[in-house]
Assembly symmetry: C2
Homo-oligomer: 360 residues x 2
């Protein structure tokens, strides 16, 4: 098969698995369209995928894997609109670097180059910009990438919120494993690389809207090293990697369930959650499974490689809190269900609405 | 020399040519910092370049040329904040594709892949988004590139202006010529690929602020084919290519003069400007040399290849209006001067302030 035939085959397979094309009924954009859940997915499928229709975009992974000049590249982008711009453990600059580095890393790529586009509001303090840019430089050095190209636009007062940053990233894919949300199989094991919900909870508390304070920091961190260790240990036994950002672990697993046509059973007691995150989540009435992380990933791994995967993750400082949290099942597909600590079972549905806007 | 040694040598050469590092005295961001002129340059050098300090970013071309997996790539990004979103001849979607394609093309790269990050304001009409995305899809098809990855964020009402789009692009550099603003030499010839200022004038008239109407359309267009024809005809005789966007032809030539340590003498009568653009520019009190184009480029070419360059440009529908508009001189460096139609000479200085905000 030629590359083109292979790509068309991928496209047909994805379209078959997804069934009927999504239809967007909303007339106006709502915050839910940016939440990473059900409304986001419908917008992406009905508007973006329908128009840009191509086999490289169609898998809707966090990055595209594509060929250029004989090299196999990963390419990704994210816009960052987090509010507030600065929070315990990081700022929009760290997020903009680590988030894009992680989207590359989840394909197993080695991140190389980043671009940075700034949209600044007239009147934004230069000292704040300098601080953000300094964070980006440190985060880039920490992740081993270089910021090689950029752009700055300024809009009038009241047409932005201080500073928005959009980064894109290019990495090189040096392995030949296929990773993706459509590759999970019944029997596979689901791991998470550490306690979940730290980032989202931190940003929320930093806004002061809850009227509570908590001793929690964003987990923003670059995960390429962690991924590399995992792939070294488990090779093609790794089915799928996703960083659990907007929409949290619940959203990642719902996408895996849908794209692979499988079910996922979580063991609630096994999911690592810090007490302060659990406390804030209770006050908010939100399940920690839906709260964004910025330095945690979900890995779906062949059962026979589960121990090796856990050991590889725990051997890395960024994966010390890794845990097996569930397994992939044939039925009930495409649902994610959670065995509670009291012996019950509840459905962990796709996110509807946006309980935590502008978290990243 | 190793790649690393070569890169360090480039960095030293650039720093020598530029002299003392820029210092930013402003405490707050102003519209001028986004105008592409003097304030933009100072911000970029004093804040971004100082922090991200690396030899791939340092040339401050519209794209970085870098290696990945053995391939020579061009990589670029631009954020688009044009107001209004729709204007005669195009919309923010066309700009976001063509602008990024052109930044790749100016390195002589073949544009391949684009990413698209959307920042949407809550309440933005889905119909407008669909129209913009449709324009992007058509522009991508026209330019022979694929939009392979993206992101959508939504911010609360009043925290954006409808829709901002940031695209990044990856292309492959298949030739071995070095192109760049630091490569102009006395004796070289300066060409422009068509009438200038159409885009900026169109956007300005579309805002209705001038109270005049004009029969002018944006020149937004993808220039990779035009560049490819020019390089085929003139090879290493091409010194530098730049699309004349924010800050117009004047800003491009000031950057060439500074980075190459040369002067540029323009022949005002030879610069192609449509009568309606000239008329609007007179009302505004702006020199058309400073008005943005989105489908025109400036080419600096060895004198011996000037005729071949002009013929190559004019042989392409997008370069039919090409003209030789000036030449590179040793003195007065690093100034751009213009011989007026009345026999006088005036300095075409770097842009100060922002007479035309949010033009792209």
């Amino acid at each position: 098969m030629t590359t083109d035939q292979r790509e068309q085959e991928v496209l047909r397979r994805i379209e078959r698995a997804r069934g009927r094309p999504a239809r967007l009924r909303d007339e106006r954009i709502t915050l839910a369209h940016g939440a990473g859940g059900k409304a986001s997915r419908t917008l992406v499928e009905a508007v973006f995928l329908a128009a840009f229709h191509n086999p490289l975009l169609a898998p809707l992974e966090d990055q595209a894997v594509c060929e250029a000049g004989g090299a196999r590249l990963a390419f990704t982008t994210d816009s960052y609109v987090v509010s507030p711009l600065f929070f315990p453990g990081g700022d929009i600059g760290d997020l903009a670097v680590n988030g894009t580095v992680n989207d590359l890393a989840m394909s197993g790529a080695r991140p190389l180059y980043l671009s940075a586009g700034f949209i600044l509001e007239e009147g934004f303090p230069v000292a704040d910009l300098t601080r953000i840019v300094g964070s980006m430089a440190r985060a880039a050095a920490g992740a081993g990438v270089r910021i090689v190209t950029g752009d700055t636009k300024v809009v009038e007062r009241g047409k932005a919120d201080g500073c928005y940053v959009t980064t894109a990233g290019v990495g090189v894919v040096e392995h030949s494993f296929e990773l993706g949300a459509s590759r999970a199989r019944p029997g596979d094991v689901v791991l998470v690389s550490g306690p979940i919900g730290d980032h989202g909870t931190t940003v929320l508390l930093a806004r002061g809207e809850l009227g509570i304070e908590g001793d929690v920091e964003s987990d923003t961190a670059p995960l390429a090293g962690l991924v590399s260790g995992l792939l070294d240990a488990c090779g093609a036994g790794v089915r799928c990697l996703r960083d659990a950002t907007r929409g949290g672990v619940a959203t990642v697993l719902n996408e895996v369930a849908r794209d692979s046509g499988v079910g996922v059973v979580l063991d609630e007691g096994a999911v690592p959650v810090r007490p302060q995150v659990r406390g804030a989540a209770e006050i908010l009435g939100i399940d920690p499974l839906y709260i964004a992380c910025e330095g945690r990933m979900v890995a779906v791994v062949e059962a026979g490689r589960a121990d090796a995967a856990l050991a590889a993750l725990r051997g890395d400082p960024l994966g010390r809190g890794a845990a097996v949290i569930g397994r992939v099942v044939a039925d009930p597909a495409p649902l994610v269900v959670c065995r509670t600590e009291f012996g019950g079972t509840r459905i962990v549905d796709v996110l509807v609405g946006d309980p935590l806007p502008r978290i990243c």
